[in-house]
């Protein structure tokens, strides 16, 4: 366990060092910013580390990687300390004016975290290898990478034995195999720790972002919505890659929103990196990359149309591409040169594709499944009260919509991205060559899970902050007896 945690700490340190280059200058972060930066540093570090490991395995066995990574992390840390001596000592400013509702919610959240941890301790020994896809694909791939002499060797053996499953992206297997390399053995808890840390990081990103833009209470509610989704907690135990993918979705989205203000303008590079890494985590990430690219183009185009400043727009494009390029190159290399038999059903089944598109029954089936699953995915046979979407809708009805947020506002971006992703998934189901009902039954709940943190951010960013509800007085002050209301009115008329 210590070895596994050390491996993620080393990569997080690398992530933190890289992130320091993109942070605003000379500003002491608030608690929200601090949590957000920590969570982003973790995901960035894991991503960078997996990409470096992918290249490293072409030259050396995995057992030498821990030494290499720790050396890199320390080197990075020294460079950052020399370049940004102030930033490295950044600690959040002490939170001011903590209200009673915030204290109550914090206590509930801490208790909920403790209970979820207890659930993991009970459940993990029962299914230490995770659910079906975990041992059949993700953890199996990690075992192949860990036991092989190099990337080509591991790919060849992996391909021979697992066939098409070996075409899955490698962020998860590489990260888990790296954790095993730190300990020198296959530690069963490593995939669970990987997933749990990503689950925690999702909470950090969602809390940090909403805390920054909408206030602490909104951030706390967001974490509560995540914890109140049993499917989210249980899926961490399943040891699939969906939790990590959900993290990269929400991290990219948050960096996109933050990049719209000048202070965080450099975050466009992180946006490119996170969006690409989503595609390096799971194939659904390719769709996300496309959506983010589309939204980014609209955002840059709109800014250029309003300000006519070519230099600014060019800088934005360069930042985005600069962040995306390293991941894109390796992704391209992996897809083209490694996956020699990657499925290309578009070319093989173009005739069937047209039939699928024209088949109205498929649309009816997919729409029905989408609506049903939207309300049920988070329940996970635990309790119907925990329907995430229902709770978000009730929350929206209680707090009301923020009037200043229009569809052109940066705070509307999460909703736009979420809707585009849902549209993309819808289209994928329409053209899927797999049996439709089977595909919907086995995949749709996980797709909703991937988008759930985005939905939380999208909802809460467009709604009013609940702080005002607690700030106003329920019992209004009575007017002084000496000034009768009607007399006052008469006076004002005059």
């Amino acid at each position: 366990m210590i070895a596994t945690l050390s491996s993620f700490m080393a990569s997080s340190l690398i992530g933190a060092c890289i992130l320091t280059f993109f942070l605003p200058k000379n500003a002491k972060p608030s608690v929200g910013h601090f949590v957000l930066y920590l969570a982003l540093a973790f995901g960035l570090g894991v991503a960078v580390s997996s990409l470096i490991l992918f290249v490293f395995l072409h030259f050396s066995p995995i057992k030498f990687f821990p030494l290499f990574e720790v050396a890199c992390a320390l080197l990075f840390a020294i460079v950052v300390m020399l370049k940004f001596p102030v930033k490295i000592l950044w600690l959040p400013s002490r939170p001011q004016n903590i209200t009673i509702p915030e204290t109550i919610l914090s206590v509930i959240i801490v208790a909920a975290f403790a209970i979820v941890l207890l659930v993991y301790l009970i459940y993990f020994p029962l299914e230490p290898h995770g659910k079906w896809d975990a041992w059949a694909s993700w953890n199996s791939a990690a075992r192949f990478i860990y036991g092989s002499m190099g990337i080509v060797d591991s790919y060849q053996t992996f391909w021979k034995t697992l066939g098409a499953q070996s075409s899955y992206p490698w962020l998860y297997p590489l990260s888990v195999a790296k954790a095993w390399a730190y300990g020198g053995q296959v530690e069963q808890a490593a995939p669970l720790v990987f997933n749990a840390l990503f689950g925690l990081a999702i909470s950090g990103v969602v809390f940090g972002f909403l805390c920054t833009v909408k206030g602490r209470l909104t951030g706390l509610f967001a974490v509560l919505f995540l914890l109140g989704c049993p499917f989210f907690s249980l899926h961490i135990l399943a040891q699939y890659a969906d939790i990590a993918l959900a993290y990269y979705f929400v991290a990219a989205l948050v960096t996109l929103c933050l990049a719209t203000d000048k202070e965080h303008g450099k975050f466009l590079a992180l946006l490119g990196a996170f969006a690409t890494i989503a595609a390096w985590t799971k194939d659904e990430g390719l769709l996300f990359l496309l959506v983010i690219f589309l939204v980014f183009c609209i955002y840059v185009g709109r800014d250029y149309a309003s300000e006519k400043r070519l230099k600014d727009s060019g800088t934005k494009v360069l930042l985005f591409l600069g962040g995306a390029l390293p991941g894109l190159l390796l992704l391209f290399y992996h897809k083209v040169f490694f996956i020699e038999r990657a499925s290309s059903f578009l070319s093989e089944q173009s005739r069937a594709l047209i039939d699928f598109i024209l088949d109205l029954d498929r649309y009816a089936t997919v729409v029905t499944a989408f609506i049903k699953e939207a309300f049920l995915f988070s329940v996970a046979n635990v309790t119907f009260m925990s329907s995430g979407i229902v709770l978000l809708i009730i929350y929206a009805l209680v707090v009301g919509r923020e009037k200043v947020v229009s569809w052109r506002s940066p705070l509307a971006l999460p909703a736009v991205v979420t809707l585009l992703m849902l549209g993309g998934y819808f289209a994928v189901f329409i053209i899927t060559p797999a049996p439709l009902q089977w595909h919907l039954d086995t995949l749709l709940n996980r797709l909703y899970l991937q988008l759930f943190p985005l939905m939380i951010v999208a909802f809460l960013a467009m709604l009013k902050a609940p702080d005002a509800i607690f700030r106003e007085k329920v019992f209004l002050d009575l007017p002084p007896k000496t000034m009768p209301l009607n007399k006052n009115k008469r006076k004002t008329r005059r």
């Binding site: 009970i122 299914e127 075992r143 509560l224 049993p230």
Partner: protein
């Protein structure tokens, strides 16, 4: 008194409690199900099967794995792995190759589902009440090295 504000506060408090309640129910269900939980045991079953095979696989580089889940699925085969190993009942168990590999991998053994190999692990799960002896197909290509019982045997290709 601002009633709507009061209701909003109560509403938010109820939402927070419902979320916490969901976590409590999750714990309660985990505790109750863990007591009567029958481990699916996919992996440990295969780990047990892998253990008996390992002494026969030392220094072998060409190892194949052939499995079937019923007499019907196995009948008439000459150990040539079915294309895509996804026919009939076998399709339901298509991850068995992955499972055996998952179990074998930490020990350094690599199995192949696609080619004719020097060593062949034949792994039948008893099904439909058929005696296992009936499932052992006569082969002109392979000779039996060891029968471990429970449908598990190992063969070597004849030179």
């Amino acid at each position: 008194m601002n009633t709507s504000l009061l209701f909003k506060r109560i509403g938010l408090f109820v939402i927070a409690l419902v979320c916490f309640f969901a976590v409590l129910v999750l714990l309660q269900k985990t505790i109750s199900s863990s007591a009567r939980y029958q481990r699916l045991d996919f992996v440990s079953t295969f780990e047990e099967r892998a253990k008996v095979l390992l002494p026969f696989l030392a220094n072998e580089t060409s190892i194949g794995y052939f499995f079937a889940v019923s007499y019907e699925a196995a009948k008439g085969r000459n150990f040539a792995p079915p294309p895509g190993y996804a026919d009939g009942e076998a399709a339901e168990n298509s991850a068995r190759g992955s499972l055996m590999n998952y179990a074998m991998r930490p020990h350094g053994a690599i199995m192949n589902l696609e080619e004719m190999t020097d060593i062949l692990i034949v792994d039948f799960i008893q099904n439909q009440g058929k005696p296992l002896s009936q499932l052992h197909i006569r082969s002109t290509t392979y000779s039996l090295v060891q029968d471990f019982g429970n449908g598990l045997s190992i063969y070597r290709r004849q030179r």
